[in-house]
């Protein structure tokens, strides 16, 4: 017995010992020289794989495309370090010939790979030709479809010959999250089969090189290059952190805990509640906005996407009725606790878009009318953004801005006023009948809609979905949510849904051009029911007017103001047709802890880039970061 008791005591002692045992977060890397960033990809299954160009390669946002890869141009979703447009590997903007069949790229001299080889047009030619000659590389398809040939007149010039006119071809090499990165010719040409080559360790074109990584894929640590001056960001200054660690930070609550213990400098995304908790309890944690709503509005428009091939939803009246049932204030509360930037129109209310679209179109929206069959109503309520702000002021107090433009920036402008009467009229016009408290379809069956949501993957969207479902249910529609965790992309592509909370509208953010998503909305790409739908026309909706708009956009230059006008035509069209119900910007609760580093981007004083750390564009953040206390 005694021996047993002793054994137990010893065990406890050992445990306590472990507990007490102080341990650095990262071994042999000084914390104060290291930036620790959450990689939302989580655990990378094939950690030792850095060949980004092979489809299904390992991680992308493990630091690889933020710190080690580079290409011609970057468009910043916000203001940019030095303007929205940045010539990175290219020294000038894209140079098209007048009929958009030839693109000339001038390269920046004096840029070197981390192994000391200079980056030249030879690498460009190799990258492009490899994609032309190999199938199943990440960018094989677009290259093979567009490029007739490529040539390098000199060391710093590359000329693309295009198969057909394309004024947006340079988009392929313009980083918005990512773009077609350059391959190191001198490595890959020795590698044999490009698809089977792991590219480990990666040779870097960015200011950092790989220091070490976890074979189980939970962390990747990058180290600043000695010769960082010979990379493109050097134009903006020296990167602050000597080391950058991209880690799998676990589920939302663990991320919050980690940052409270100052073990995670940047949380990629957490729940609103997590954000508020950090704002309350962690003095040095901050979001994109200093106060409420904190989150960064990505140039991504979260919407209720209908499957327009669904017989019941083909009718515009039904779609509009469903829109008029939604109380966006409740949705904003349920999903973001009010920290949402709402948008009534088919463009995200972020970056430069409010200037180019929301504000100019306000007047049109106020006069915009919907015919319910019995009467005409003006559904637009310009005060909803303000109403949300007001409803939050009692609880959030001074954090809530009061200047109208700030309110508009944070919460958005107007949205559709809930109008159950009008909704009922529209439903009836569409031939639906109300039996008791239940809407019946024209052929007399109960009207059921399943809203597909992503579940844990995107808590906020899941919450929005269940709120919309609730409101429809209360209107008498048999609506419920379906969690398609992991399979969401699949089902979205397959059109295997009635309605889905997702986004079919993504933009540059920093540039008014809409082709980034709009081009793929052309009817030519719509898949048969049941056949997989290519991105991003998930709603499988087509309209002759839309096709006309798209075709026109294809023929005007990237920066041509005419593009914006056409964009507004698109906005009017989708407002009338309501193929998807735009809800709000995808606001990302990126939380930055200033215990070790300062100079993070923010809305008020430094909107120089998107803080959301899985964007390739966040490489610009490194040059702005400064250690808080020089140790």
């Amino acid at each position: 017995m005694r021996t047993l008791r002793q054994a137990v005591l010893a065990l406890l002692a050992a445990l306590a010992g472990f507990g007490a045992m102080a341990q650095e977060l990262i071994s042999n890397v000084p914390r104060h020289q290291t930036l620790v960033v959450e990689n939302p990809e989580g655990t990378i299954r094939n950690a030792g794989w850095f060949n980004y160009w092979a489809i299904n390669a390992g991680g992308q946002s493990t630091g690889l495309h933020q710190l080690a890869l580079d290409t011609f141009w970057y468009i910043d979703p916000n203001r940019g370090v030095n303007g929205v447009w940045d010539n990175s590997l290219a020294s000038e903007k894209p140079i098209y010939n007048k009929d958009f069949t030839e693109l000339t790229v001038k390269l920046r001299p004096g840029i070197f790979w981390s192994d000391g080889v200079e980056f030249t047009s030879a690498d460009v030619v190799y990258t492009v030709e490899t994609h032309m000659n190999t199938r199943g590389l990440r960018w094989s398809a677009p290259i093979q479809i567009n490029v007739a040939g490529i040539s390098a007149p000199d060391k710093y010039t590359a000329v693309f010959k295009l198969k057909k006119p394309n004024s947006r071809f340079h988009a392929l090499f313009t980083v918005r999250w990512n773009a077609m990165w350059m391959m190191p010719k001198h490595i890959f040409e020795k590698a044999g089969d490009v698809i089977k080559f792991a590219f480990n360790p990666p040779v870097s074109l960015g200011p950092y090189t790989l220091h070490s990584f976890d074979p189980n894929g939970k962390w990747f640590i990058w180290q600043k290059r000695e010769d960082w001056k010979r990379t493109t960001v050097a134009r903006h200054g020296e990167p602050g952190p000597k080391y950058v660690a991209y880690v799998d930070a676990g589920p939302p609550d663990k991320r919050v805990i980690a940052q409270m213990n100052h073990q995670l400098d940047i949380i990629h995304d957490t729940s609103p509640e997590g954000m508020f908790t950090l704002a309350k309890q962690s003095r040095l944690s901050r979001g994109w906005f200093k106060g409420f709503p904190y989150a960064h509005p990505d140039p991504t428009l979260a919407s209720v996407i209908f499957n327009n091939q669904n017989e019941l939803l083909k009718n515009r009246d039904v779609r509009w009725a469903l829109a008029l049932v939604i109380d966006i204030k409740a949705v904003s509360m349920a999903s973001y606790r009010g920290a949402a930037t709402i948008s009534a129109i088919g463009v995200p209310p972020t970056g430069t878009h409010p200037e180019s679209y929301h504000k100019p179109m306000e007047a049109w929206l106020r006069t915009f009318e919907v015919d319910t069959g019995k009467r005409k109503i003006k559904p637009y309520d310009p005060t909803i953004g303000k109403q949300i702000a007001d409803s939050l002021r009692p609880s959030m107090g001074i954090q809530i801005p009061d200047k109208p433009e700030d309110v508009a920036k944070a919460f958005g402008m107007g949205w559709w006023k809930p109008d159950l009467q009008a909704a009922t009229e529209l439903m009836q016009r569409a031939g639906f009948k109300k039996a008791g408290n239940q809407w019946m379809t024209p052929d007399g069956k109960p009207f059921t809609i399943k809203i597909t949501v992503e579940g844990e993957g995107r808590p906020v969207m899941t919450r929005a979905g269940s709120m919309v479902a609730q409101q429809w249910r209360q209107f008498g529609i048999d609506a419920s949510t379906v969690v398609a965790q992991g399979t969401l992309n699949d089902r979205r592509a397959a059109g295997d849904f009635d309605a889905i909370i997702s986004w079919s509208v993504e933009t540059w953010g920093g540039h008014p051009d809409l082709s980034f998503f709009l081009d793929s909305w052309h009817s030519q790409f719509i898949a048969e029911p049941g056949k997989p739908q290519p991105p991003r026309n998930w709603q499988r909706w087509s309209h002759p007017e839309l096709d006309k708009i798209i075709e026109q956009i294809r023929t005007v230059g990237f920066d041509d103001p005419k593009g914006v006008e056409l964009g507004r035509e698109y906005v009017k069209l989708v407002a009338r047709e309501m193929p998807t119900i735009p809800l709000m910007a995808y606001n990302v609760f990126t939380v930055m802890d200033e215990t070790y580093w300062t100079g993070y981007p923010n809305a008020e004083t430094a909107p120089y880039t998107d803080p959301v750390p899985n964007w390739g564009n966040t490489k610009y953040m490194m040059v702005k970061l400064k250690p808080r206390q020089a140790q």
């Binding site: 919050v256 729940s271 509640e273 349920a334 399943k450 808590p459 609730q470 969690v483 965790q485």
Partner: protein
């Protein structure tokens, strides 16, 4: 039987405690009938209120009253457990009795099948099922699947009893008096194994509830049906723990733990009553 229960209640502390605990749980579940709110609706009460009045156990970040949510959650969770237990009992009884009675190759065949199901790690398979059935993976179908996987352990116990019954003379006389196998099993053997069935039921309910909670917390079930698991799931969606909304997680956990302990106490007290040697259905977690 009733006198036995009464005596147990009077003189067996575990049994009494178990009955009390389950009584509480059952009462809470029953209250769901009186709930002023639909379990599906959110934002019916002000969110994030700590326990107190008028919301006894506080409110969730989804603006739901924790207490009333809890009544629905525990009701569904218990119901789930019972359904699984019921179906799997039938399977276990059938296979156990037949194997024990028939003996020979039938016994051997059934038992190796049985051992297979005991050994195979079920969790991966359940996860796989979820990914086949997706939104058809309703609460009911999950119950069915789990019932089909959860009978093996108890079939073994029942079979061992049936095996001993087989050699008793009343079985012999039954056979000589020309009773059919079905008659013998249902009329002669069933009464003997029923007590065991009862106690294994408790363990089986524990097991199924445990897995249901785990699966739905991981989001691998239908999250519209309020269960203890889906309650915790939604709490995690709102990072309730770190946000300090502890009552959203704590109360479901406490309640489900009470349920587990209650069922478990019943099981072991029954066990001691039936057969001090029996193995307490261990491993059923």
């Amino acid at each position: 039987m009733w006198t036995v229960l009464r005596d147990l209640l009077r003189h067996n502390r575990e049994f009494a405690a178990g009955v009390c605990l389950l009584g509480i749980v059952g009462l809470i579940a029953a209250l769901s009938a009186l709930s002023p709110y639909s379990p599906l609706d959110s934002y019916v009460v002000p969110p994030d209120l700590p326990p107190g009045l008028p919301y006894v156990l506080g409110t969730t970040s989804r603006g739901q009253d924790v207490f009333w949510m809890l009544t629905f959650a525990i009701r569904n969770t218990l119901l789930f457990g019972f359904i699984v237990a019921l179906i799997s009992r039938l399977l276990a009884l059938l296979i156990g009795l037949v194997a024990g009675y028939a003996g020979g190759w039938i016994d051997r065949a059934l038992m190796s099948l049985n051992d297979t199901f005991i050994v195979i790690p079920l969790f991966p398979i359940l996860v796989l099922f979820y990914f086949v059935m997706r939104d058809r993976m309703s609460w009911a179908s999950l119950a069915l699947v789990m019932a089909c996987l959860g009978w093996a352990y108890d079939a073994r116990l029942i079979r061992s009893v049936a095996l001993s019954l087989r050699t008793r003379e009343f079985t012999e006389t039954g056979i000589f008096s020309g009773m059919s196998m079905r008659q013998i099993l249902t009329q002669e053997h069933l009464p003997f194994v029923l007590p065991i069935v009862f106690s294994t039921t408790m363990n089986n309910i524990n097991w199924s509830i445990g897995l249901e909670v785990t699966l739905s917390v991981l989001g691998f079930t239908d999250i519209n049906t309020p269960t203890i698991g889906s309650m915790i799931y939604w709490a995690n969606q709102h990072t309730a723990m770190v946000a300090g909304i502890w009552w959203w997680v704590a109360f479901p956990v406490v309640l489900v733990v009470i349920t587990f302990v209650g069922l478990f106490l019943l099981a072991i007290s029954m066990n001691e009553f039936i057969d001090p040697r029996s193995r307490l259905g261990r491993g059923m977690q």
